[in-house]
């Protein structure tokens, strides 16, 4: 293949081309960063409680059962739009109560159903976690997922 191409030419194309595409990628990433902070996510809504909620999400490694915006373990339901699924857009208070009650009811212990462990959250922690899920639902993510089922 490519008999006209010498090894050193192939090497130079590799280094030059890679550098070009890396710089382009880095520039687009920088713009995406700016776009996320200012346009697609709720800047004012990113309160201390939401940040605390993200911390609780990470501390309990929810990502290794659930997915969030399609990324995670696919073992348990998508939570990026769980706020929508619980009717948070229509009735936020009912959604908060519903989510908290569901988490507090674990483990269900039902035979033949995947088990979610019990998490001993304080009211404050529970509220922060739900704030995080509500904030995440508000991210403008090109209308994904296609159905509320997530």
């Amino acid at each position: 293949m490519a008999d006209g191409l010498t090894k050193s030419a192939a090497r130079n194309i590799f280094y030059g081309g890679s550098l070009f595409f890396f710089l382009l990628f880095a520039a687009l990433t920088a713009h995406s960063h700016w776009y996320m902070v200012n346009t697609s996510t709720d800047k004012e809504g990113l309160t201390e409680s939401v940040v605390e909620g993200k911390h609780i999400w990470e501390k309990n490694m929810c990502i290794n059962c659930h997915s969030i915006m399609g990324e995670g373990a696919y073992f348990a339901p998508e939570l990026g739009n769980v706020w929508e699924r619980y009717g948070g857009h229509q009735n936020p208070e009912a959604a908060r109560a519903g989510l908290a009650a569901w988490i507090r009811a674990q483990p269900l212990g039902t035979q033949g159903r995947r088990q979610m462990p019990a998490y001993d959250f304080s009211d404050e922690e529970m509220s922060a976690l739900i704030d995080f899920l509500e904030w995440t639902d508000g991210i403008d993510d090109q209308d994904w997922p296609p159905t509320p089922a997530g």
Partner: protein, 451 residues
């Protein structure tokens, strides 16, 4: 084995294979939960099994890459490893960090971003160990002969270390978090790890086919060029649905489609060199892995990746079992088979015996590879059904999962077959050495006394 210090690779390969075995154990546990949902629910929640399964894979592959580098660097650089002592110390640090993370997970000690769950101090130890490794191998390279193989390999390893630093950056904005999380995850496996893969394959092909180094090294630069030209902007296929601008949809679709090309080029490369090669290398098992690796990588990473990479397809399939199917075959083909091939090639020399137990190794190859393909098919079927029921019809997640039990059962079955095949492989690598004469007669085995 021409250089004495190549033997530092042996403990790396032993640790890597021990962790590989553990990875399969945790995989089997997690697959069992999919079939019997209450299985070990009180003892070990699913998230612990899953984090152990994925982290063990990453850690053993990295240890394998390091071992492979120590093995080939003296031959390529034509000098001994700078410091075997540093090699042993950094292996001990890395293995300790990996083991500590694994044990910690069982007690709920972890961070919470997927694949980057290691506690902060474990991440620091991993970084220190990896930098010691880079120093040791780079010093060897700097004082020795520079070839395309060892330059591309070291470039891949250095860039892997650079992008790993993004693991320490965890923004509080989830969208921004995901944006840079992919700078580790995607830029590793679909970027700089491909440099490592292509250079290690190139090394195996030079050694086993006897094709001229100039030819192989030119191919190597073309392949790694194609990998980065497509793979860097190909990251865009992870930016469709995380709050990034919509321009990632055309960019991600086009460039991640192009990501298939370097994988296809590696297939053509390996088979062309194999046919052109004049050398009839006695290690038939290693040759089988060297041809199998790019082939399965092409299907797992290339074809299965392409299947759901276009944004209007991914809109429906994103985050379903289709992704799980692709993830399993891509990692197996591109990186697991690569390491098993390198180990198949290196072990006889490290143990100073003729290539041995070839038949058992090749049985292992076909059983594990066949089972991984079957696992991928079952997960693909599960993913297609899931996509239709959940993403098109809008059925509830848990109800959909109940429809997939048959596929999960078959996945567990194929996992058991992977475990059996892996036992054969481990026995072939480390078990008692036994000479086997190929069907063609003794003239095919290496060594002056055999001709």
């Amino acid at each position: 084995m021409k250089y004495e210090t190549q033997k530092v690779a042996l403990p790396f390969f032993m640790v890597a294979m021990a962790l590989f075995a553990l990875q399969i154990v945790f995989g089997l546990l997690a697959a069992s939960v999919y079939v019997w949902p209450n299985f070990m629910a009180e003892l070990m929640p699913f998230n612990i099994m899953r984090v152990s399964h994925t982290n063990l894979l990453i850690v053993w592959l990295l240890i394998g890459f390091m071992g492979a580098t120590y093995y080939l660097m003296p031959e390529e650089a034509e000098r001994e490893i700078h410091s075997p002592t540093i090699a042993y110390i950094q292996l001990a640090i890395f293995a300790f960090a990996g083991a500590a993370a694994l044990v910690g997970y069982q007690f709920g000690i972890h961070e919470g971003r997927e694949f980057l769950e290691q506690p902060f101090w474990v991440k620091v130890l991993i970084t220190i160990s990896f930098l010691m490794f880079l120093f040791n191998t780079s010093m060897t390279l700097l004082k020795g002969r520079r070839t395309a193989i060892n330059l591309v390999l070291m470039l891949g390893l250095w860039l892997a270390a650079v992008f790993w630093l993004f693991a320490f950056y965890n923004p509080s904005n989830l969208a921004v978090d995901k944006l840079y999380w992919w700078w580790v995850v995607h830029l590793w496996v679909e970027g700089v790890w491909e440099l490592i893969m292509a250079s290690l394959l190139g090394y195996l092909l030079i050694k086993m086919t006897g094709v001229d180094r100039e030819v192989i090294e030119k191919w190597l630069y073309i392949i790694v060029g194609l990998s980065l030209f497509s793979g860097l902007l190909g990251t865009g296929h992870h930016y469709y649905w995380i709050g990034a601008p919509s321009y990632w949809q055309p960019i991600g679709s086009i460039f991640s489609t192009l990501e298939v090309i370097p994988f296809f080029a590696m297939v053509v490369f390996a088979f062309t060199m194999f046919w052109k090669g004049s050398r009839n290398h006695p290690n038939k098992a290693a040759m089988l892995w060297a041809l199998g690796c790019p082939t399965v990588a092409f299907f797992g990473a290339g074809v299965w990746g392409f299947m759901h990479t276009l944004h209007w397809v991914n809109y429906y399939s994103h985050g379903t079992q289709v992704t799980a199917a692709h993830g399993h075959l891509a990692f197996y083909g591109a990186y697991v088979m690569l390491m098993l091939g390198i180990i198949s090639f290196a072990m006889p020399q490290l143990r100073r015996v003729q290539p041995y137990n070839q038949v058992m190794n090749m049985w292992g190859f076909w059983i594990v590879t066949g089972a991984m393909c079957f696992m991928t098919f079952t997960l693909t079927f599960a993913g297609v059904v899931q996509t239709h029921l959940q993403r098109v019809l809008g059925m509830n997640f848990m109800e959909v999962q109940d429809q997939l039990v048959l596929f999960y059962g078959m996945r567990l079955g194929s996992g058991i077959a992977v475990a059996i095949g892996s036992c054969l492989l481990l026995y072939a690598f480390f078990g008692p050495a036994r000479e086997q004469v190929p069907a063609g007669g003794t003239q095919l085995t290496a060594g002056a006394d055999r001709a």
